[in-house]
């Protein structure tokens, strides 16, 4: 909890983006989470990603449920639309918002409690509908807001702050998202912005359900020696399979990567998603392979990070439902209510 308000003044050399805005223009209010909370780094990564992509901050719809993670939309993009909804119900609100206005960029932030416990059903259905959004989970394996009980993503054998081990199998949201049809699945770490920021940028540009599971340590309750979601554990046990970077203009040739391990994917807005395979045998387009790989790594006590799966061609919810291309609030009365003659012809078609 911080009481000092953040000064409005910024560095005179702070870069401005294409809209003439600095990173500071994408911030929200000062965080009231614990000092050092991983979630604040995730918010900062979202701020940085949106600023670097020159996205207009007022064209966002940010939605969340309940929990520490779900407070964070207050801490970024304070000029955008926002809805802090009921516990576990972020996906419903996000689905509604996205169906009503498909022009807004939809960012949903949830936590391991919000998505893997009370909202597991909602999570499953928004993923299988492939709603066009960034679904980001701040995953710390603990219920920080209620003083550190194990959450459903806490690994079996991982201990509480007092040393009591967790007895139950963990829910792996990445494996579930892969199985349920998400077309962009990644895992990252709040302590590694070099990896996280490009992933968020790629996810924002991806058309369809983009899911990122961010391991975000809880400094108050789950950052100790027995935890598998601490800064130290994650740094020691994680390895990236595929790094992603979103670039504009001509894709650059990077000599650092062996031949065949770099891949360029054209994004709908003309930008290029560059993939760098750290593990040459890994195929980020093989959904079943990805699921196997993630599970295998988990069994070995390792954490696979990076862009695990992407399908740039996949249909999203609006395509599947063949909805109108315009946001509903732009439809005129004439379009919405075309008159009795049209109704008559529709009725005729059913006879």
């Amino acid at each position: 909890m911080t009481f000092v308000s953040k000064p409005r003044v910024h560095h005179p050399n702070l870069p401005t983006n294409e809209l003439g805005l600095t990173r500071r223009d994408y911030e929200g209010s000062v965080s009231t989470l614990c000092a050092g909370c991983g979630h604040d780094s995730v918010s900062a990564a979202i701020v940085q990603a949106c600023a670097e992509l020159s996205l207009p901050p007022h064209r966002f719809a940010k939605v969340s449920g309940i929990g520490c993670s779900s407070k964070t939309p207050s801490y970024f993009l304070n000029r955008s639309h926002g809805f802090n909804s009921v516990h576990g119900r972020m996906p419903s609100v996000a689905t509604g918002a996205n169906l009503a206005n498909r022009d807004l960029m939809c960012v949903g932030v949830s936590g391991d409690g919000d998505s893997a416990s009370i909202g597991l059903g909602q999570f499953a259905h928004v993923v299988r509908r492939r709603t066009n959004m960034l679904y980001l989970v701040d995953n710390n394996g603990t219920y920080g807001l209620t003083k550190g009980q194990f959450s459903a993503t806490n690994d079996k054998g991982s201990t509480s702050k007092k040393g009591v081990p967790n007895l139950y199998e963990p829910i792996d949201l990445v494996s579930m998202a892969l199985q349920l049809g998400a077309s962009f699945v990644a895992r990252s770490f709040s302590g590694d912005k070099a990896q996280l920021v490009p992933l968020i940028k790629a996810a924002l540009k991806h058309k369809g359900m983009a899911f990122i599971d961010v391991i975000s340590p809880c400094v108050a309750f789950n950052n100790h020696g027995g935890s598998t979601k601490s800064f130290e554990f994650v740094r020691e046990h994680s390895s990236s399979v595929v790094d992603a970077d979103l670039i504009f203009g001509q894709p650059e040739i990077t000599a650092d990567y062996a031949e065949g391990t770099q891949e360029n994917i054209a994004m709908p807005d003309g930008s290029t998603l560059q993939l760098y395979k750290i593990d040459a045998n890994y195929d980020p387009h093989d959904r079943i392979g990805a699921m196997t790989y993630v599970q295998k790594m988990q069994e070995q006590g390792q954490v696979a990070t990076g862009l695990l799966y992407v399908d740039p061609e996949a249909l999203e919810c609006h395509d599947i439902m063949e909805t109108t291309a315009r946001p509903l609030n732009e439809l005129t009365e004439e379009t919405l209510c075309p008159g009795s003659e049209v109704l008559e012809s529709i009725n005729q078609s059913y006879r």
Binding site: T2, V4, A35, G38, D40, S41, G191
Partner: protein, 594 residues
């Protein structure tokens, strides 16, 4: 890049830009905090300790601190440091309890000080608490030197000067006023243990031009003329006046002329406006009083009729910036300009001049008539003789005199006790004290005040122009001072990083409002400077680099535009960042704090 050694006293001293820029290294943020707490007497004494003349300097200082103020880099206008100093002087209470104790039993060493200007007075103040018998020789009847003779009363009221001069004289100086020393040899026959020469740069420059010899009665050397005004020998100036020169003396001459009844006053300067030596605010003050400043006019000839000055002929030039960035002047092609006048005040600089020091005493002088000195000890080539103030290295401001005096006093003390002037000098030091009071409480006002600089109230125009003794600036009252004090960024409350506590959570990096902090792979400095979110382009300001952290990365902080807001420490879960007040110890004798 290697880790920063924060225990080098100079490291954090440099971060306190104002204090570092001040020749006397006055602890500016500390006294501004005292003003904010309405502890004016303590604020005054903190100043008195390091610069000796806070009341005088609060009105007349050249303010090297203000252009250095961090606020210039973050929001353009500096904190009004000089005016806050005056506010402390104006609002202070009784300072007697804070004055150093002067022992009645002396240490047997007799010191002669020549010239009763700021340098000698400050040496006296430093030496007296150590039991020295101090003799002060001055040709005028009163002490103060050029603070009295050359700074007009509308900028520095006599009572302010008297108070600060008398405070030192009352500590037990043996005054020999009205006694011009015209032979150093004779003075040395009195066998003092050491001598300090603080006679200033007393010779105003003249100009050899056609007609100069014929109009002697109408041409006055600026500093001599101001001195005659100060001592009441000159009370009026009639007709049209031209002031030649672009320094602060020129500004004082023109404003004084206006008050002594001149019909019109013009300042004519050889060079361009932006390169004039006068302080920005002194030029503004003159212009506000309606005095035109005419630039790019080198003088050519004094025009007279049978010895009666008619005016001055000036050449017209244009400044051209050369490839080296310096201005050069080329004829503009316009015809020469004749400016009518009855008097000319010459304020084109001043020189050192010590004809009374015989050249066979072992004191070497250079070709500019400046003594050959050791820059640190201020000792001349005659080991018992020391110089300070303008007489040491040429004309400077009062604050330099105070700075020289502290150094010379240490040297004299060491010399009198047979110690080495360099090896035995007390070193600089730094103390760091955490300001953490509680979970979210700091022992300083960490919040950032975006307010703009407060303007100083001025006396009503008419009344000041009619009376030489009416002070033009009214100074900040307690309320304005309190508001201005809030603008200080507390640069002496340092961000101190302890690497083995850091868990690399990035909280400090994310919260920093100025994007000063980064946690990155270590690289050479030049690349490290580019690795911050806002590149650290100001190479005059250091990077604070930690030792290797757990992941092998380093914490880097660009000191350039840090607001010292404490948010990094506030958001740090492990207290790896802490806000610690740095107290820089500038060695000096007779410090009231010792």
């Amino acid at each position: 890049m290697g880790p920063t050694n924060i225990f080098d006293p100079n490291y954090f001293h440099k971060v306190v830009d104002c204090q570092h820029a001040c020749p006397a290294h006055t602890p500016v943020p500390e006294y501004i905090r005292l003003i904010a707490q309405e502890r004016y007497t303590e604020a005054y004494m903190l100043n008195w300790d390091s610069n000796v003349f806070p009341g005088v300097l609060g009105r007349t200082c050249d303010r090297p601190c203000e252009p250095a103020c961090r606020r210039v880099r973050t929001e353009e206008t500096p904190v009004a440091i000089c005016r806050l100093k005056r506010a402390a002087a104006d609002n202070k209470g009784d300072v007697t309890p804070y004055l150093p104790h002067v022992p009645t039993e002396k240490n047997g060493k007799r010191i002669a000080l020549v010239g009763a200007g700021p340098a000698s007075l400050a040496v006296a103040r430093d030496l007296l608490p150590f039991g020295y018998e101090v003799h002060l020789f001055e040709q005028d009847e009163k002490g103060g030197g050029f603070m009295r003779s050359q700074i007009p009363a509308f900028r520095l009221p006599e009572e302010v000067l008297d108070e600060e001069v008398d405070r030192i004289l009352d500590m037990g100086v043996h005054c020999h006023f009205g006694q011009a020393i015209d032979s150093m040899k004779e003075l040395m026959e009195q066998k003092f243990d050491a001598y300090f020469i603080g006679t200033g740069a007393p010779r105003g420059r003249d100009l050899e031009l056609t007609g100069r010899e014929d109009v002697n009665d109408y041409i006055h050397i600026g500093i001599d003329w101001l001195s005659s005004v100060a001592f009441g020998h000159i009370t009026e100036i009639k007709g049209k006046v031209i002031v030649m020169g672009g320094g602060n003396t020129a500004m004082d001459c023109c404003r004084t002329s206006l008050r002594l009844g001149a019909e019109s006053v013009k300042v004519v300067v050889r060079s361009a406006f932006e390169v004039m030596k006068a302080s920005e605010w002194e030029k503004e003050d003159a212009m506000r009083e309606g005095i035109p400043i005419i630039n790019n006019r080198p003088p050519k000839e004094f025009v007279h009729e049978n010895g009666k000055l008619k005016g001055v002929l000036f050449e017209c030039v244009t400044p051209v910036r050369g490839e080296d960035g310096r201005l050069r002047y080329e004829p503009s092609g316009e015809p020469d300009e004749f400016i009518e006048c009855d008097h000319v005040l010459m304020a084109i600089g001043q020189d050192n001049h010590c004809p009374w020091i015989e050249r066979d005493l072992g004191i070497e002088f250079d070709k500019w008539d400046c003594p050959t000195l050791d820059e640190v000890t201020l000792q001349s080539t005659n080991p018992s003789i020391f110089f300070g103030g303008d007489s040491a290295f040429g004309p400077e401001n009062i604050i330099w005199a105070s700075a020289h005096a502290h150094r010379a006093a240490i040297s004299i003390h060491l010399y009198c006790h047979g110690k080495d002037l360099k090896a035995d000098r007390p070193p600089e030091g730094v103390n760091l004290l955490s300001t953490k009071m509680g979970v979210h409480e700091w022992a300083y006002d960490a919040g950032h005040d975006p307010a703009v600089r407060q303007l100083v109230p001025l006396v009503e125009h008419e009344s000041s122009l009619n009376n030489l003794k009416v002070e033009v600036e009214l100074g900040f009252d307690a309320q304005l001072a309190a508001q201005e004090a809030q603008r200080c960024l507390n640069c002496d409350v340092q961000t101190v990083f302890t690497d083995n506590l850091c868990i690399e959570c990035d909280a400090c990096v994310d919260i920093c409002p100025m994007d000063c902090i980064a946690c990155v792979e270590n690289q050479p400095e030049i690349e490290l400077r580019q690795s911050l979110m806002a590149p650290a382009l100001n190479v005059d300001q250091d990077l604070y680099v930690s030792d290797s952290l757990q992941t092998g990365r380093v914490m880097v902080k660009d000191e350039d535009v840090c607001l010292h807001c404490g948010l990094c420490a506030e958001r740090c879960p492990t207290n790896a960042w802490d806000m610690q007040r740095s107290v820089v110890h500038i060695p000096q004798l007779g410090s009231f704090g010792e």
